[in-house]
C-alpha cells in the first residue's frame, strides 16, 4: 500500500544543506505494524512526515495506494491525509479548549460528514479507546495516557488505512505506554497499517517489522536487534 522509490529529503539554509533522508527505497504492505527506530536526528520524524504528506520531498517517487503523490496539489494532499491517514503525536496535540468529543470531531468536520454520521463515528472511536464517559471533558482534565487515547480515537474516527504514530508513548509512564501499545496492536489486528516511530527497543520489538534510520539511510533489521543503533548521536550535516 505504500512504496517509496529513491526518495530523498534535503533541508537547506543559506549555509547548510542537511540530508535528512537519502534515497529511501521501501515498501510497506497493508495491515503491517512497522516500527521505525534510529538515533536522535537520524530522520525518523522526517520519514514519518513524508509518509503522512506533511512535507514534500526533492527526489524520488512515493506511491500511496498506487497513486504517485508527488506533485499533488494542497487540496488533493489534504483529502488523502483526511481520508487515508491518521496521526498520533508524542505530545498528543489535542486542542486544549475543546471537549474530547469536539477534538475527535475535527478530522470528521473536514471530511464533510453530516452530524449523525459524525456522532456515530466519534462514539465508536471513543468506545474503542474506552473513554466514552469522558466525552465532555477537556483534555487538561485527563491523564497523559487518556489524552493519548483520545488522540488515537481522533485518528481512528476517520477509519484511516494507515496510522502514523510519532513516539506515541514517549510522554507516558510504562503502564500507560503498555496500554497504548496494546490499543495500537488491537487496531492493527483489525487491518489498519501502523507505522510507529519509537526510541524504545522493547516497543520496537513488538512490531512485525523494524526499520532503522541512520544518517538518513533507511535499512530493515530483524525486530530482536532493534536496539543496536538506538541513541547513537551521529552528525549528518554537510557544509556547502
Amino acid at each position: 500500500m505504500l512504496k517509496m522509490v529513491n526518495v530523498s529529503k534535503i533541508y537547506r539554509t543559506e549555509l547548510i544543506e542537511t540530508h535528512a533522508l537519502r534515497e529511501v527505497n521501501l515498501e510497506i504492505h497493508e495491515g503491517e505494524f512497522v516500527s521505525v527506530t534510529g538515533p536522535s536526528g537520524s530522520g525518523k520524524t522526517t520519514f514519518l512526515n513524508l509518509t503522512g504528506l506533511l512535507e514534500r520531498f526533492e527526489k524520488g517517487e512515493y506511491f500511496l495506494d498506487g497513486q504517485n503523490v508527488q506533485g499533488l496539489k494542497d487540496r488533493q494532499l489534504s483529502k488523502i491525509r483526511n481520508e487515508k491517514i491518521g496521526f498520533v503525536f508524542q505530545s498528543f496535540n489535542l486542542i486544549p479548549d475543546l471537549p474530547i468529543f469536539d477534538n475527535v470531531d475535527v478530522p470528521l468536520r473536514y471530511r464533510g460528514f453530516d452530524a449523525k454520521e459524525r456522532r456515530s463515528r466519534i462514539e465508536n472511536a471513543l468506545a474503542t479507546v474506552g473513554l466514552t464517559s469522558r466525552h465532555k471533558h477537556l483534555p487538561t482534565q485527563l491523564s497523559g495516557g487518556q489524552q493519548q487515547r483520545v488522540a488515537i480515537a481522533r485518528a481512528l474516527a476517520g477509519e484511516p488505512r494507515i496510522l502514523l504514530a510519532d513516539e506515541p508513548t514517549g510522554n507516558l509512564d510504562s503502564i500507560m505506554a503498555r496500554q497504548v501499545m496494546d490499543l495500537l496492536h488491537e487496531i492493527n489486528s483489525k487491518g489498519t497499517t501502523i507505522i510507529m516511530v519509537t526510541h524504545d527497543p522493547e516497543l520496537a520489538s513488538r512490531a512485525q517489522r523494524n526499520i532503522q534510520i541512520f544518517d538518513g539511510v533507511v535499512s530493515e533489521v530483524e525486530p530482536q536487534s532493534a536496539d543496536v543503533l538506538i541513541d547513537r548521536e551521529v552528525p549528518h550535516s554537510v557544509s556547502v
Binding site: 506533511l54 512535507e55 491525509r81 483526511n82 496521526f87 496535540n93 478530522p107 473536514y110 471530511r111 481522533r154
Partner: protein, 454 residues
C-alpha cells in the same frame, strides 16, 4: 463548512481575549475619528436641494463700465442690477420659475412688549422663492403674486421666531413690527436644514433667515439694502447712499446687488435661456447700456457652486488627511496584534492541516474571524463617531456663543445610513486587508515543524 468556520472564528475571538479587545478598540477609535471627520465633510458636501441643485441657476450679467478686466469665472462676477432683474422677470423665457432676492437688516418686535425685539437678517424676495428652494411650511404658506405687486404688508417667519414671539402657536394672522412698518404673518417655516445657505451665496452652514418679506414691501418701506453694491465707477461714490437711503436712485442705477435665480430643468431649457439672456443684453446695449465690447454673463447651477466651495476647504482636507493617517496607524497596530494572536495558534492550525483541512479552509476561517473583528470594530467605531460628532456640534454651538441652536446645525453632524454603511465597509474591508498578511503567514508555515515543537 462555512458554519463550522464561523463557529471556530467566533470561538477564536475568546481565545487571548485581551488581544481581541485591543484590536477592536484600535479599529473602533481609528474608525470613529475617521468617520467623524468624513461625516462632517460628507454632510457639508451634500447638495442642498438634491437633484434640483442641477436645475437652480444663478444668473449674472456683467453690466459694468469699460473699466476692469473681463470676468473669467462666475465667482468673480457681481450680482444683477435691479433693472435687469425686473426685465428678466417679465420676459418670456424657458425658465420654469424665476426669482430674485436680497437681504436687509431690520428690528423685529411683537405687540407684546414683554418680548425683547430682535435684530433680524431678513430675506427680501418674490413668492416663487419658497417653491424654488423647497422651503417647508409649518403653518400657512407663501404670499401671492398679487402681494408681490401690491407691496402687501405680509411676512413669512421661521419656526425659531414663531417660538420666540408667539410661543410656538400658529401665528398666521398675527402681527409683527418690522422697522417702522407692521406686517401680518401669513406663513411659518418649519425647521429648514440646509447643508449650506446657498441661495444667498453666503454658504454659511448654520445661519438661517428668520423673516421673509415681498420685494415691493421692502422697497416701499425703504429698508436698508444689506448687500454688496457692485457699482460702476461713475456711481461708486453713491453706493452707500444707495444701500441706506436712495432707493429710487439705486433702482435706476447700474449697481449690481440682487441675486437672480432661474429654474431650468433641461439642457434645451438652459440653451434657450442663454439665448434669452444674450438677446436681453444686446437689446440693452442698443439702449446705451452694457458698454463693454464683450458681453459676459454666467449661468451656473447650485451643484457647480457647491463643487467650487468644496475646493476651498483647506481645514477640512487637513482634518481628513490627519484622520486617515491616524486610522492607518491603528490598522498597522492591528496587523501586529493579529500576528501575535494568530502566531499563538500556529500549532492548532498545523494540527488542523495535518488532520485534513485545506489551507483555503483555514484561511477562510481566519478571514471570517478578521471580518467579525472588523464588524465589531465598526459597531464600536460608530459609537465613537456618534460621540465625536456630538462633541464637534457642541464645540460649534459653544464657539458661536450659542448664536446657533444645536438642532439647527444637527444635520451637519448626523450619521445617515450612507455613512453607517460606509463605516462598516471601511471597517470590515480594511481589517480583512490588513489581516491578509498575518493569515497568509500562519497558514503557510510548516505544519510538521510546528507539530513537533514543544
Amino acid at each position: 463548512m462555512l458554519a463550522y468556520n464561523l463557529q471556530l472564528a467566533w470561538r477564536s475571538l475568546f481565545q487571548r481575549r485581551s488581544l481581541t479587545i485591543l484590536m477592536i478598540a484600535a479599529i473602533a477609535i481609528g474608525l470613529g475619528i475617521l468617520m467623524t471627520v468624513r461625516t462632517m465633510a460628507y454632510q457639508s458636501r451634500q447638495l442642498p436641494v438634491g437633484e434640483r441643485s442641477h436645475d437652480l441657476h444663478l444668473v449674472q450679467m456683467d453690466s459694468r463700465g469699460v473699466e476692469g478686466d473681463e470676468y473669467a469665472q462666475w465667482f468673480e462676477g457681481d450680482a444683477m442690477t435691479y433693472r435687469d432683474a425686473r426685465i428678466l422677470m417679465n420676459a418670456n423665457t424657458s425658465a420654469i420659475r424665476q426669482t430674485y432676492l436680497w437681504k436687509t437688516d431690520v428690528i423685529v418686535s411683537s405687540e407684546n412688549e414683554d418680548i425683547q425685539p430682535k435684530r433680524s437678517r431678513t430675506l427680501v424676495g418674490l413668492h416663487n422663492f419658497f417653491t424654488m428652494f423647497e422651503a417647508p411650511f409649518l403653518y400657512g404658506g407663501a404670499w401671492s403674486e398679487d402681494a408681490n405687486d401690491n407691496a402687501e404688508p405680509v411676512a413669512v417667519i421661521s419656526k425659531r421666531y414663531n417660538d420666540y414671539f408667539f410661543g410656538g402657536e400658529n401665528s398666521v394672522g398675527r402681527r409683527l413690527n418690522l422697522g417702522t412698518g407692521v406686517v401680518t404673518v401669513i406663513g411659518v417655516l418649519d425647521d429648514w436644514f440646509l447643508s449650506r445657505n446657498y441661495y444667498d451665496m453666503s454658504f454659511n452652514a448654520a445661519r438661517r433667515d428668520d423673516v421673509f418679506i415681498p420685494d415691493s414691501l421692502a422697497i416701499d418701506l425703504n429698508l436698508v439694502r444689506a448687500m454688496q453694491m457692485g457699482c460702476p465707477e461713475n456711481e461708486a461714490d453713491r453706493a452707500s447712499d444707495f444701500a441706506a437711503t436712495d432707493i429710487q436712485g439705486l433702482l435706476n442705477s447700474e449697481c449690481a446687488w440682487v441675486l437672480f435665480w432661474a429654474e431650468l430643468d433641461a439642457a434645451s431649457a438652459i440653451a434657450d435661456y442663454r439665448d434669452s439672456i444674450e438677446q436681453h443684453m444686446l437689446a440693452q446695449q442698443s439702449f446705451g447700456r452694457y458698454p463693454r465690447e464683450k458681453l459676459t454673463y454666467f449661468l451656473t447651477s447650485v451643484a457647480e457652486h457647491m463643487d467650487l466651495v468644496g475646493q476651498f476647504r483647506g481645514r477640512e482636507a487637513f482634518l481628513q488627511l490627519m484622520s486617515n493617517l491616524f486610522f492607518a496607524v491603528c490598522l498597522i497596530n492591528a496587523i501586529g496584534i493579529l500576528l501575535a494572536k494568530f502566531t499563538s495558534k500556529t500549532r492548532e492550525i498545523a494540527l488542523r492541516l495535518a488532520l485534513g483541512a485545506r489551507k483555503t479552509t483555514i484561511m477562510t476561517q481566519h478571514l471570517l474571524e478578521v471580518a467579525i473583528i472588523g464588524f465589531l470594530g465598526g459597531c464600536f467605531g460608530l459609537l465613537v463617531s456618534y460621540l465625536g460628532l456630538a462633541g464637534m456640534r457642541s464645540i460649534v454651538v459653544y464657539s458661536s456663543d450659542y448664536a446657533f441652536r444645536a438642532e439647527e446645525i444637527a444635520h451637519a453632524y448626523r450619521l445617515d445610513w450612507t455613512m453607517i454603511g460606509s463605516a462598516f465597509v471601511i471597517a470590515i474591508g480594511s481589517t480583512i486587508l490588513v489581516g491578509l498578511y498575518p493569515i497568509w503567514r500562519v497558514c503557510n508555515g510548516n505544519p510538521a515543524q510546528q507539530l513537533k515543537a514543544q
